[in-house]
Each structure stands twice: as C-alpha cells, then as structure tokens.
C-alpha cells in the first residue's frame, strides 16, 4: 500500500474517496458556523434569509453586531488579558524548567520530570476543582487567623489565570526543551572562553537560539488559554472570559451573533498560527 506497489483502480478510488470524506467531516461544522454568520435572520439555521453584515456591524435591535455588543466585547477583553498573563507566566516558567532539565543532573530528576508531565493527564475539570478547593481552604484559613477576607482567592480572574497556567506550563516546557536539546553547547563555551560570564553567554548566545521556540510557545499558550473551557468553568467569577460568555448564551438559544464571534475567532487563531509558521521557516 505505497505508491510504488501497484494497487487496483477500485481500491485507490475507494481509499481516495474515504480520505476526501474525512476532510469533509473535518471542515463541515466549521464551514457551517462561518456561513451562517451572514444569515439575515434571528436563527443560525435554514431557511437562508439573505446575506447581511449586520451580525458584525449592526447597531440596531434585533440585529446587534459584535462591534456594538458590549458584553461580548468585554468578554474578549477579559480573555485577551487572561491569555496574555498565562502566556507570559507559562513561557517564563517553561524556560527555566527547560534549562533545569537540560543542564543539571540531580537526585529525583526523573521523578520531577514525570511530575512535570502530570498536568497533561489530569482532566481539566479536576485541575479546576482542586485549585478551587485549595484556594478556598487558604482563604478560610486566613480569615480564621487574621479576619482578613482575601478576595483574590475566591473564584475570579486570578484563579482562572493560575488554573490555566498550571497545565499550559507543561506544554511550554516541552516545546522549549525540544529546541534546547538541539543547542550546541560548545557555542556557549566559546563565549565563556572569550571572557563572557555565564549569564552574558546565556543571554547573548542561548536565548536568541531559543527565541523561535519561545515565541511559538507564547502563541500556543495564548491560543490554549483563549480557548480553554473546562478549567475556566470551575474557577470563573463574575468576569467571564469569552468561551464562558458564549456558553451561557448558547444555552439560552443562539443567534447568528455567536457565528460571527466564532468566525472572528477562527480567523484570529489561523492568522496567529500562520504567523508562527512563517516566523519559524525563517532561517
């Protein structure tokens, strides 16, 4: 079953159509979401009532577009803020982790490495509730001790950020470690021989080498945070990020406004992904 081995026409035809069908299955739901963003009706379903831009730019009831819908805009802002914090934190810790595992031999390294992978195999909901439980234990403890109510430890943005950070850091660590392993350490030694101290050597030689992986990890972390649902659901307070806000609306019944938001999300994340690919192709 490789091109150099002759196969019957019928077999190739069946195989080819199977693969084509698979890709139809893959793009169909997304295409439908995109197309109905332009339906001039209250419902994202047939019949097709004509083409409109109102779900993007409309400013009159009942067709208020995204750019005039405060709730959605605020949720986008919240998501962007959370995602930026998570991206910076997780890539920061991911980089130090990568150096630790790449440069040092110490007792318990294997165990720590497995622990580092653990967040990937814990269901997102469980990760969420465990952090919820612990932060509330902390908050209650502080209240009992000092009669202080620490609002930051109650469900809200800080907990959402920490919850997402707790598993996205593993991914950032893996992405950055993969690149660090390819680094030729003699380059760093050369810098040391030429009189640089260790920190300068790392800053001027190693970090620029790692930059593509770090930027890639920032984008991946940002996207994962923006799209996260499970962990966020358990930790969210009054400021809902976009996925939670959309979920609440979807439960009440959907309008093509949600399609318009989804379409912009798809375009935004494809654009980011494309940028990363272009950036990493550069020699």
């Amino acid at each position: 079953m490789i091109p150099t081995i002759p196969q019957s026409r019928a077999f190739r035809l069946v195989y080819g159509s199977y693969v084509a069908l698979f890709f139809l299955y893959l793009v169909l739901p997304l295409t439908v979401v995109a197309v109905f963003a332009f339906n001039d009706s209250q419902f994202p379903s047939l019949p097709w009532e004509g083409f409109t831009w109102n779900w993007f730019f409309g400013d009159e009831r009942p067709q208020i577009g995204i750019f005039h819908e405060r709730g959605i805009l605020r949720a986008v802002g919240t998501s962007a803020f959370v995602a930026a914090c998570v991206a910076v934190l997780s890539v920061g810790v991911g980089t130090t982790n990568a150096f630790l595992f790449n440069r040092y031999e110490f007792r318990g390294k294997g165990l720590l490495y497995v622990l580092m992978l653990l967040p990937l195999v814990i269901p997102g909901i469980v990760l969420g509730i465990s952090i919820l439980v612990f932060s509330s234990t902390l908050a209650n403890g502080i209240w009992d001790l000092a009669q202080m109510d620490i609002q930051a430890l109650r469900p809200g943005l800080l907990l959402v950020i920490l919850g997402q950070f707790s598993f996205i850091t593993t991914i950032a660590t893996l992405v950055i470690s993969a690149r660090l392993q390819k680094f030729d350490r003699t380059l760093e030694e050369a810098a040391l021989n030429l009189g640089a101290d260790r920190l300068t050597a790392v800053r001027t030689i190693t970090l620029p080498f790692l930059a593509p992986a770090m930027i890639g990890a920032v984008v991946v972390a940002f996207l994962m945070s923006f799209e996260n649902f499970n962990t966020t659901l358990m930790l969210v307070g009054s400021d809902a990020p976009l996925t939670i806000a959309m979920f609440d609306r979807l439960k009440e019944g959907s309008t093509p406004l949600l399609n318009a938001v989804s379409l912009l999300l798809m375009l935004g994340s494809s654009l980011l992904a494309l940028l990363v690919i272009l950036f990493q192709r550069r020699p």
Binding site: M1, Y25, L26, V27, L100, V126, N230, L250
Partner: protein, 286 residues
C-alpha cells in the same frame, strides 16, 4: 567560585518548578483528597469519614454514570483510532510533497478553533431545523423535521471530532518514520496487503497508536461541553456530575470524591495501557 555560582543558578531554576508543581498541582490535590474524606457534622465542624465514597459507590445513578463515562470514552477512542488510521497512513505514505503538507495542515485546523465553536457547528448541522434534517427532507428520506441532537450517537460524533487531531498527528509522525523499502520487502517476500499491515505497519506504528489513544481517552473522559450540548438527558457524563455537585449543589465533599474517582479511573487505565505495551509516560508524552 564557579561551583558556587552554579549551585545558586540551580536553586534559582528549581524554585519556579517547585512552586508551580507544589502550589498548583500537588497540594491542591492532597487538599481535595482530604476534603473528600470528611463529613460535615454541623456548621464548621467536620469529621473524617468515607461516607461520600460509599455514597458514590452505592447510589445507582452515580455508579452507572461512572461506568458509562468510562465505557463510552473507550468506545470513542476505538472509533477515533479506526477512522484516523487510514487517513494518517494516506498522509504519511500515499500523499507526496505539497499535497502531504496541505493535508497535514488541514488536520490541524480544528485544533485552532475553540471546542465551543466545534460543538456549535455540530448543533447547527444536526438540530431539528438544521442542515442535515433539511437535506433528509429534500432528498425524501424524511417527511418532517428530524431531531438528530441529544442522542448517544450524536455525542459520539462530537467526541470523535474533538479529539481526532490528537490521534492523527502521532500516527502520521510514527508512520512517516517507516521506510518504504521495508513495506516493499514485505510484499517481495510474498506478503499480502493484509499481512504487511498486520506484521509490519501496525507494529511499527504502535508508539503512535499508544500515545494517540491515551490522549484521546483522557480528552473524552474529561470532556464537559460535548456531552452537555450534544448528549441527551440520559447521556449524563461524569464531569457533569462533578460540576453539579460543586457549582449547583455546593456539596464540595461529594464533588471532591467524584473528582478523585475520575482521576483514579484515568490513572488506572493510562497505567494499564502503558504496562500492557511496555512503554513509559516519559516516552509517550514527552
């Protein structure tokens, strides 16, 4: 001096890792375990007890949902593997050059789209006024709108769709590393398509199959959106019960016990698969 500096650097690098794992992963899970093992006697007074686990293991609804979630997740994983394998093989071995790259990129697209959007897409397709229902009426297979949502089959379509990528990518990666000449040799030695598949291709793809299956299983087990939005009233998922206990009923003790049961279930299955195939978590995930 160097040595001393190196030690300081080591501890500086170790600190963020320990803080992260300790404060956000290990201690919260221990705390969750402790909470699941206590019973509320009166306001602010607790006693250690196993009552929540007892309740979870004796109440038929809880127990049935637990096993249903496990079985359906295994089923979703098997279906995903069956659908993904031929496609991954096509991308890795049949398609060449540009086409190969384009197909691989196409597989990644759903990953860049929020799970919520993917689920929403299926709702638009399958609901009573949806596209498929209209298509069936137009073709003449149905004479009135058909509701295709809220069944186990719909939920399965959604689960398989959501995790497809995590199966295709590891499969393509391992299959690409199989040399064409090995397959040719199999045929030269008189093997049929089927025996080559069984004796050469599948054993070679085993690492990819294992890591794909583990990830897909974990994602299905922990999924909340798909069962909630696409599944029916009877297709309660274990994550929904955790959510209900925590957010709706505020019964954290029982919710924490459920959370632990889910964690144990996933660990046991992942550990079992790794044991059975003789692989380690490090090879599979890292």
């Amino acid at each position: 001096m160097r040595r001393h500096q190196s030690r300081i650097a080591f501890f500086l690098l170790l600190t963020p890792l320990v803080l992260w794992l300790g404060l956000l992963i290990i201690i919260p899970h221990i705390d969750m375990l402790l909470i699941s093992l206590r019973e509320r006697i009166s306001f602010g007074v607790y006693e250690p007890s196993l009552t929540h686990y007892e309740k979870a293991l004796t109440e038929p609804l809880y127990l049935r949902t637990f096993w249903r979630t496990a079985v359906m997740s295994v089923l979703a994983t098997a279906i995903t593997l069956l659908i993904a394998f031929p496609v991954a093989y096509y991308i890795a071995k049949m398609a060449k050059g540009r086409l190969q790259q384009v197909l691989f990129m196409l597989c990644l697209i759903p990953f860049y789209v929020s799970e919520l959007v993917r689920t929403f897409g299926w709702m638009i397709l399958l609901r009573e006024t949806g596209l498929v229902s209209n298509l069936l009426q137009w073709v003449g297979l149905a004479d009135r709108p058909v509701e295709l949502l809220y069944t186990d089959a719909t939920m399965m379509v959604g689960l398989v769709y959501t995790s497809m990528l995590f199966m295709v990518v590891p499969l393509v990666t391992t299959l690409e590393s199989l040399d064409d000449s090995v397959i040719e040799a199999g045929y030269d030695l008189g093997g049929s398509g089927l025996s080559v598949l069984r004796e050469i291709i599948i054993p070679h793809a085993m690492p990819g199959i294992v890591s794909g299956c583990i990830v897909v299983f974990m994602l299905s087990l922990g999924n909340y959106l798909t069962p909630t939005m696409l599944g029916g009233k009877d297709s309660l998922w274990f994550t929904e019960m955790i959510y209900n206990q925590f957010i709706v009923r505020s019964n954290w003790e029982l919710g924490a016990a459920f959370g632990f049961m889910l964690l144990i279930l996933s660990s046991v299955i992942v550990w079992g698969v790794l044991r059975l195939t003789g692989r380690t978590l490090k090879e599979t995930m890292g």
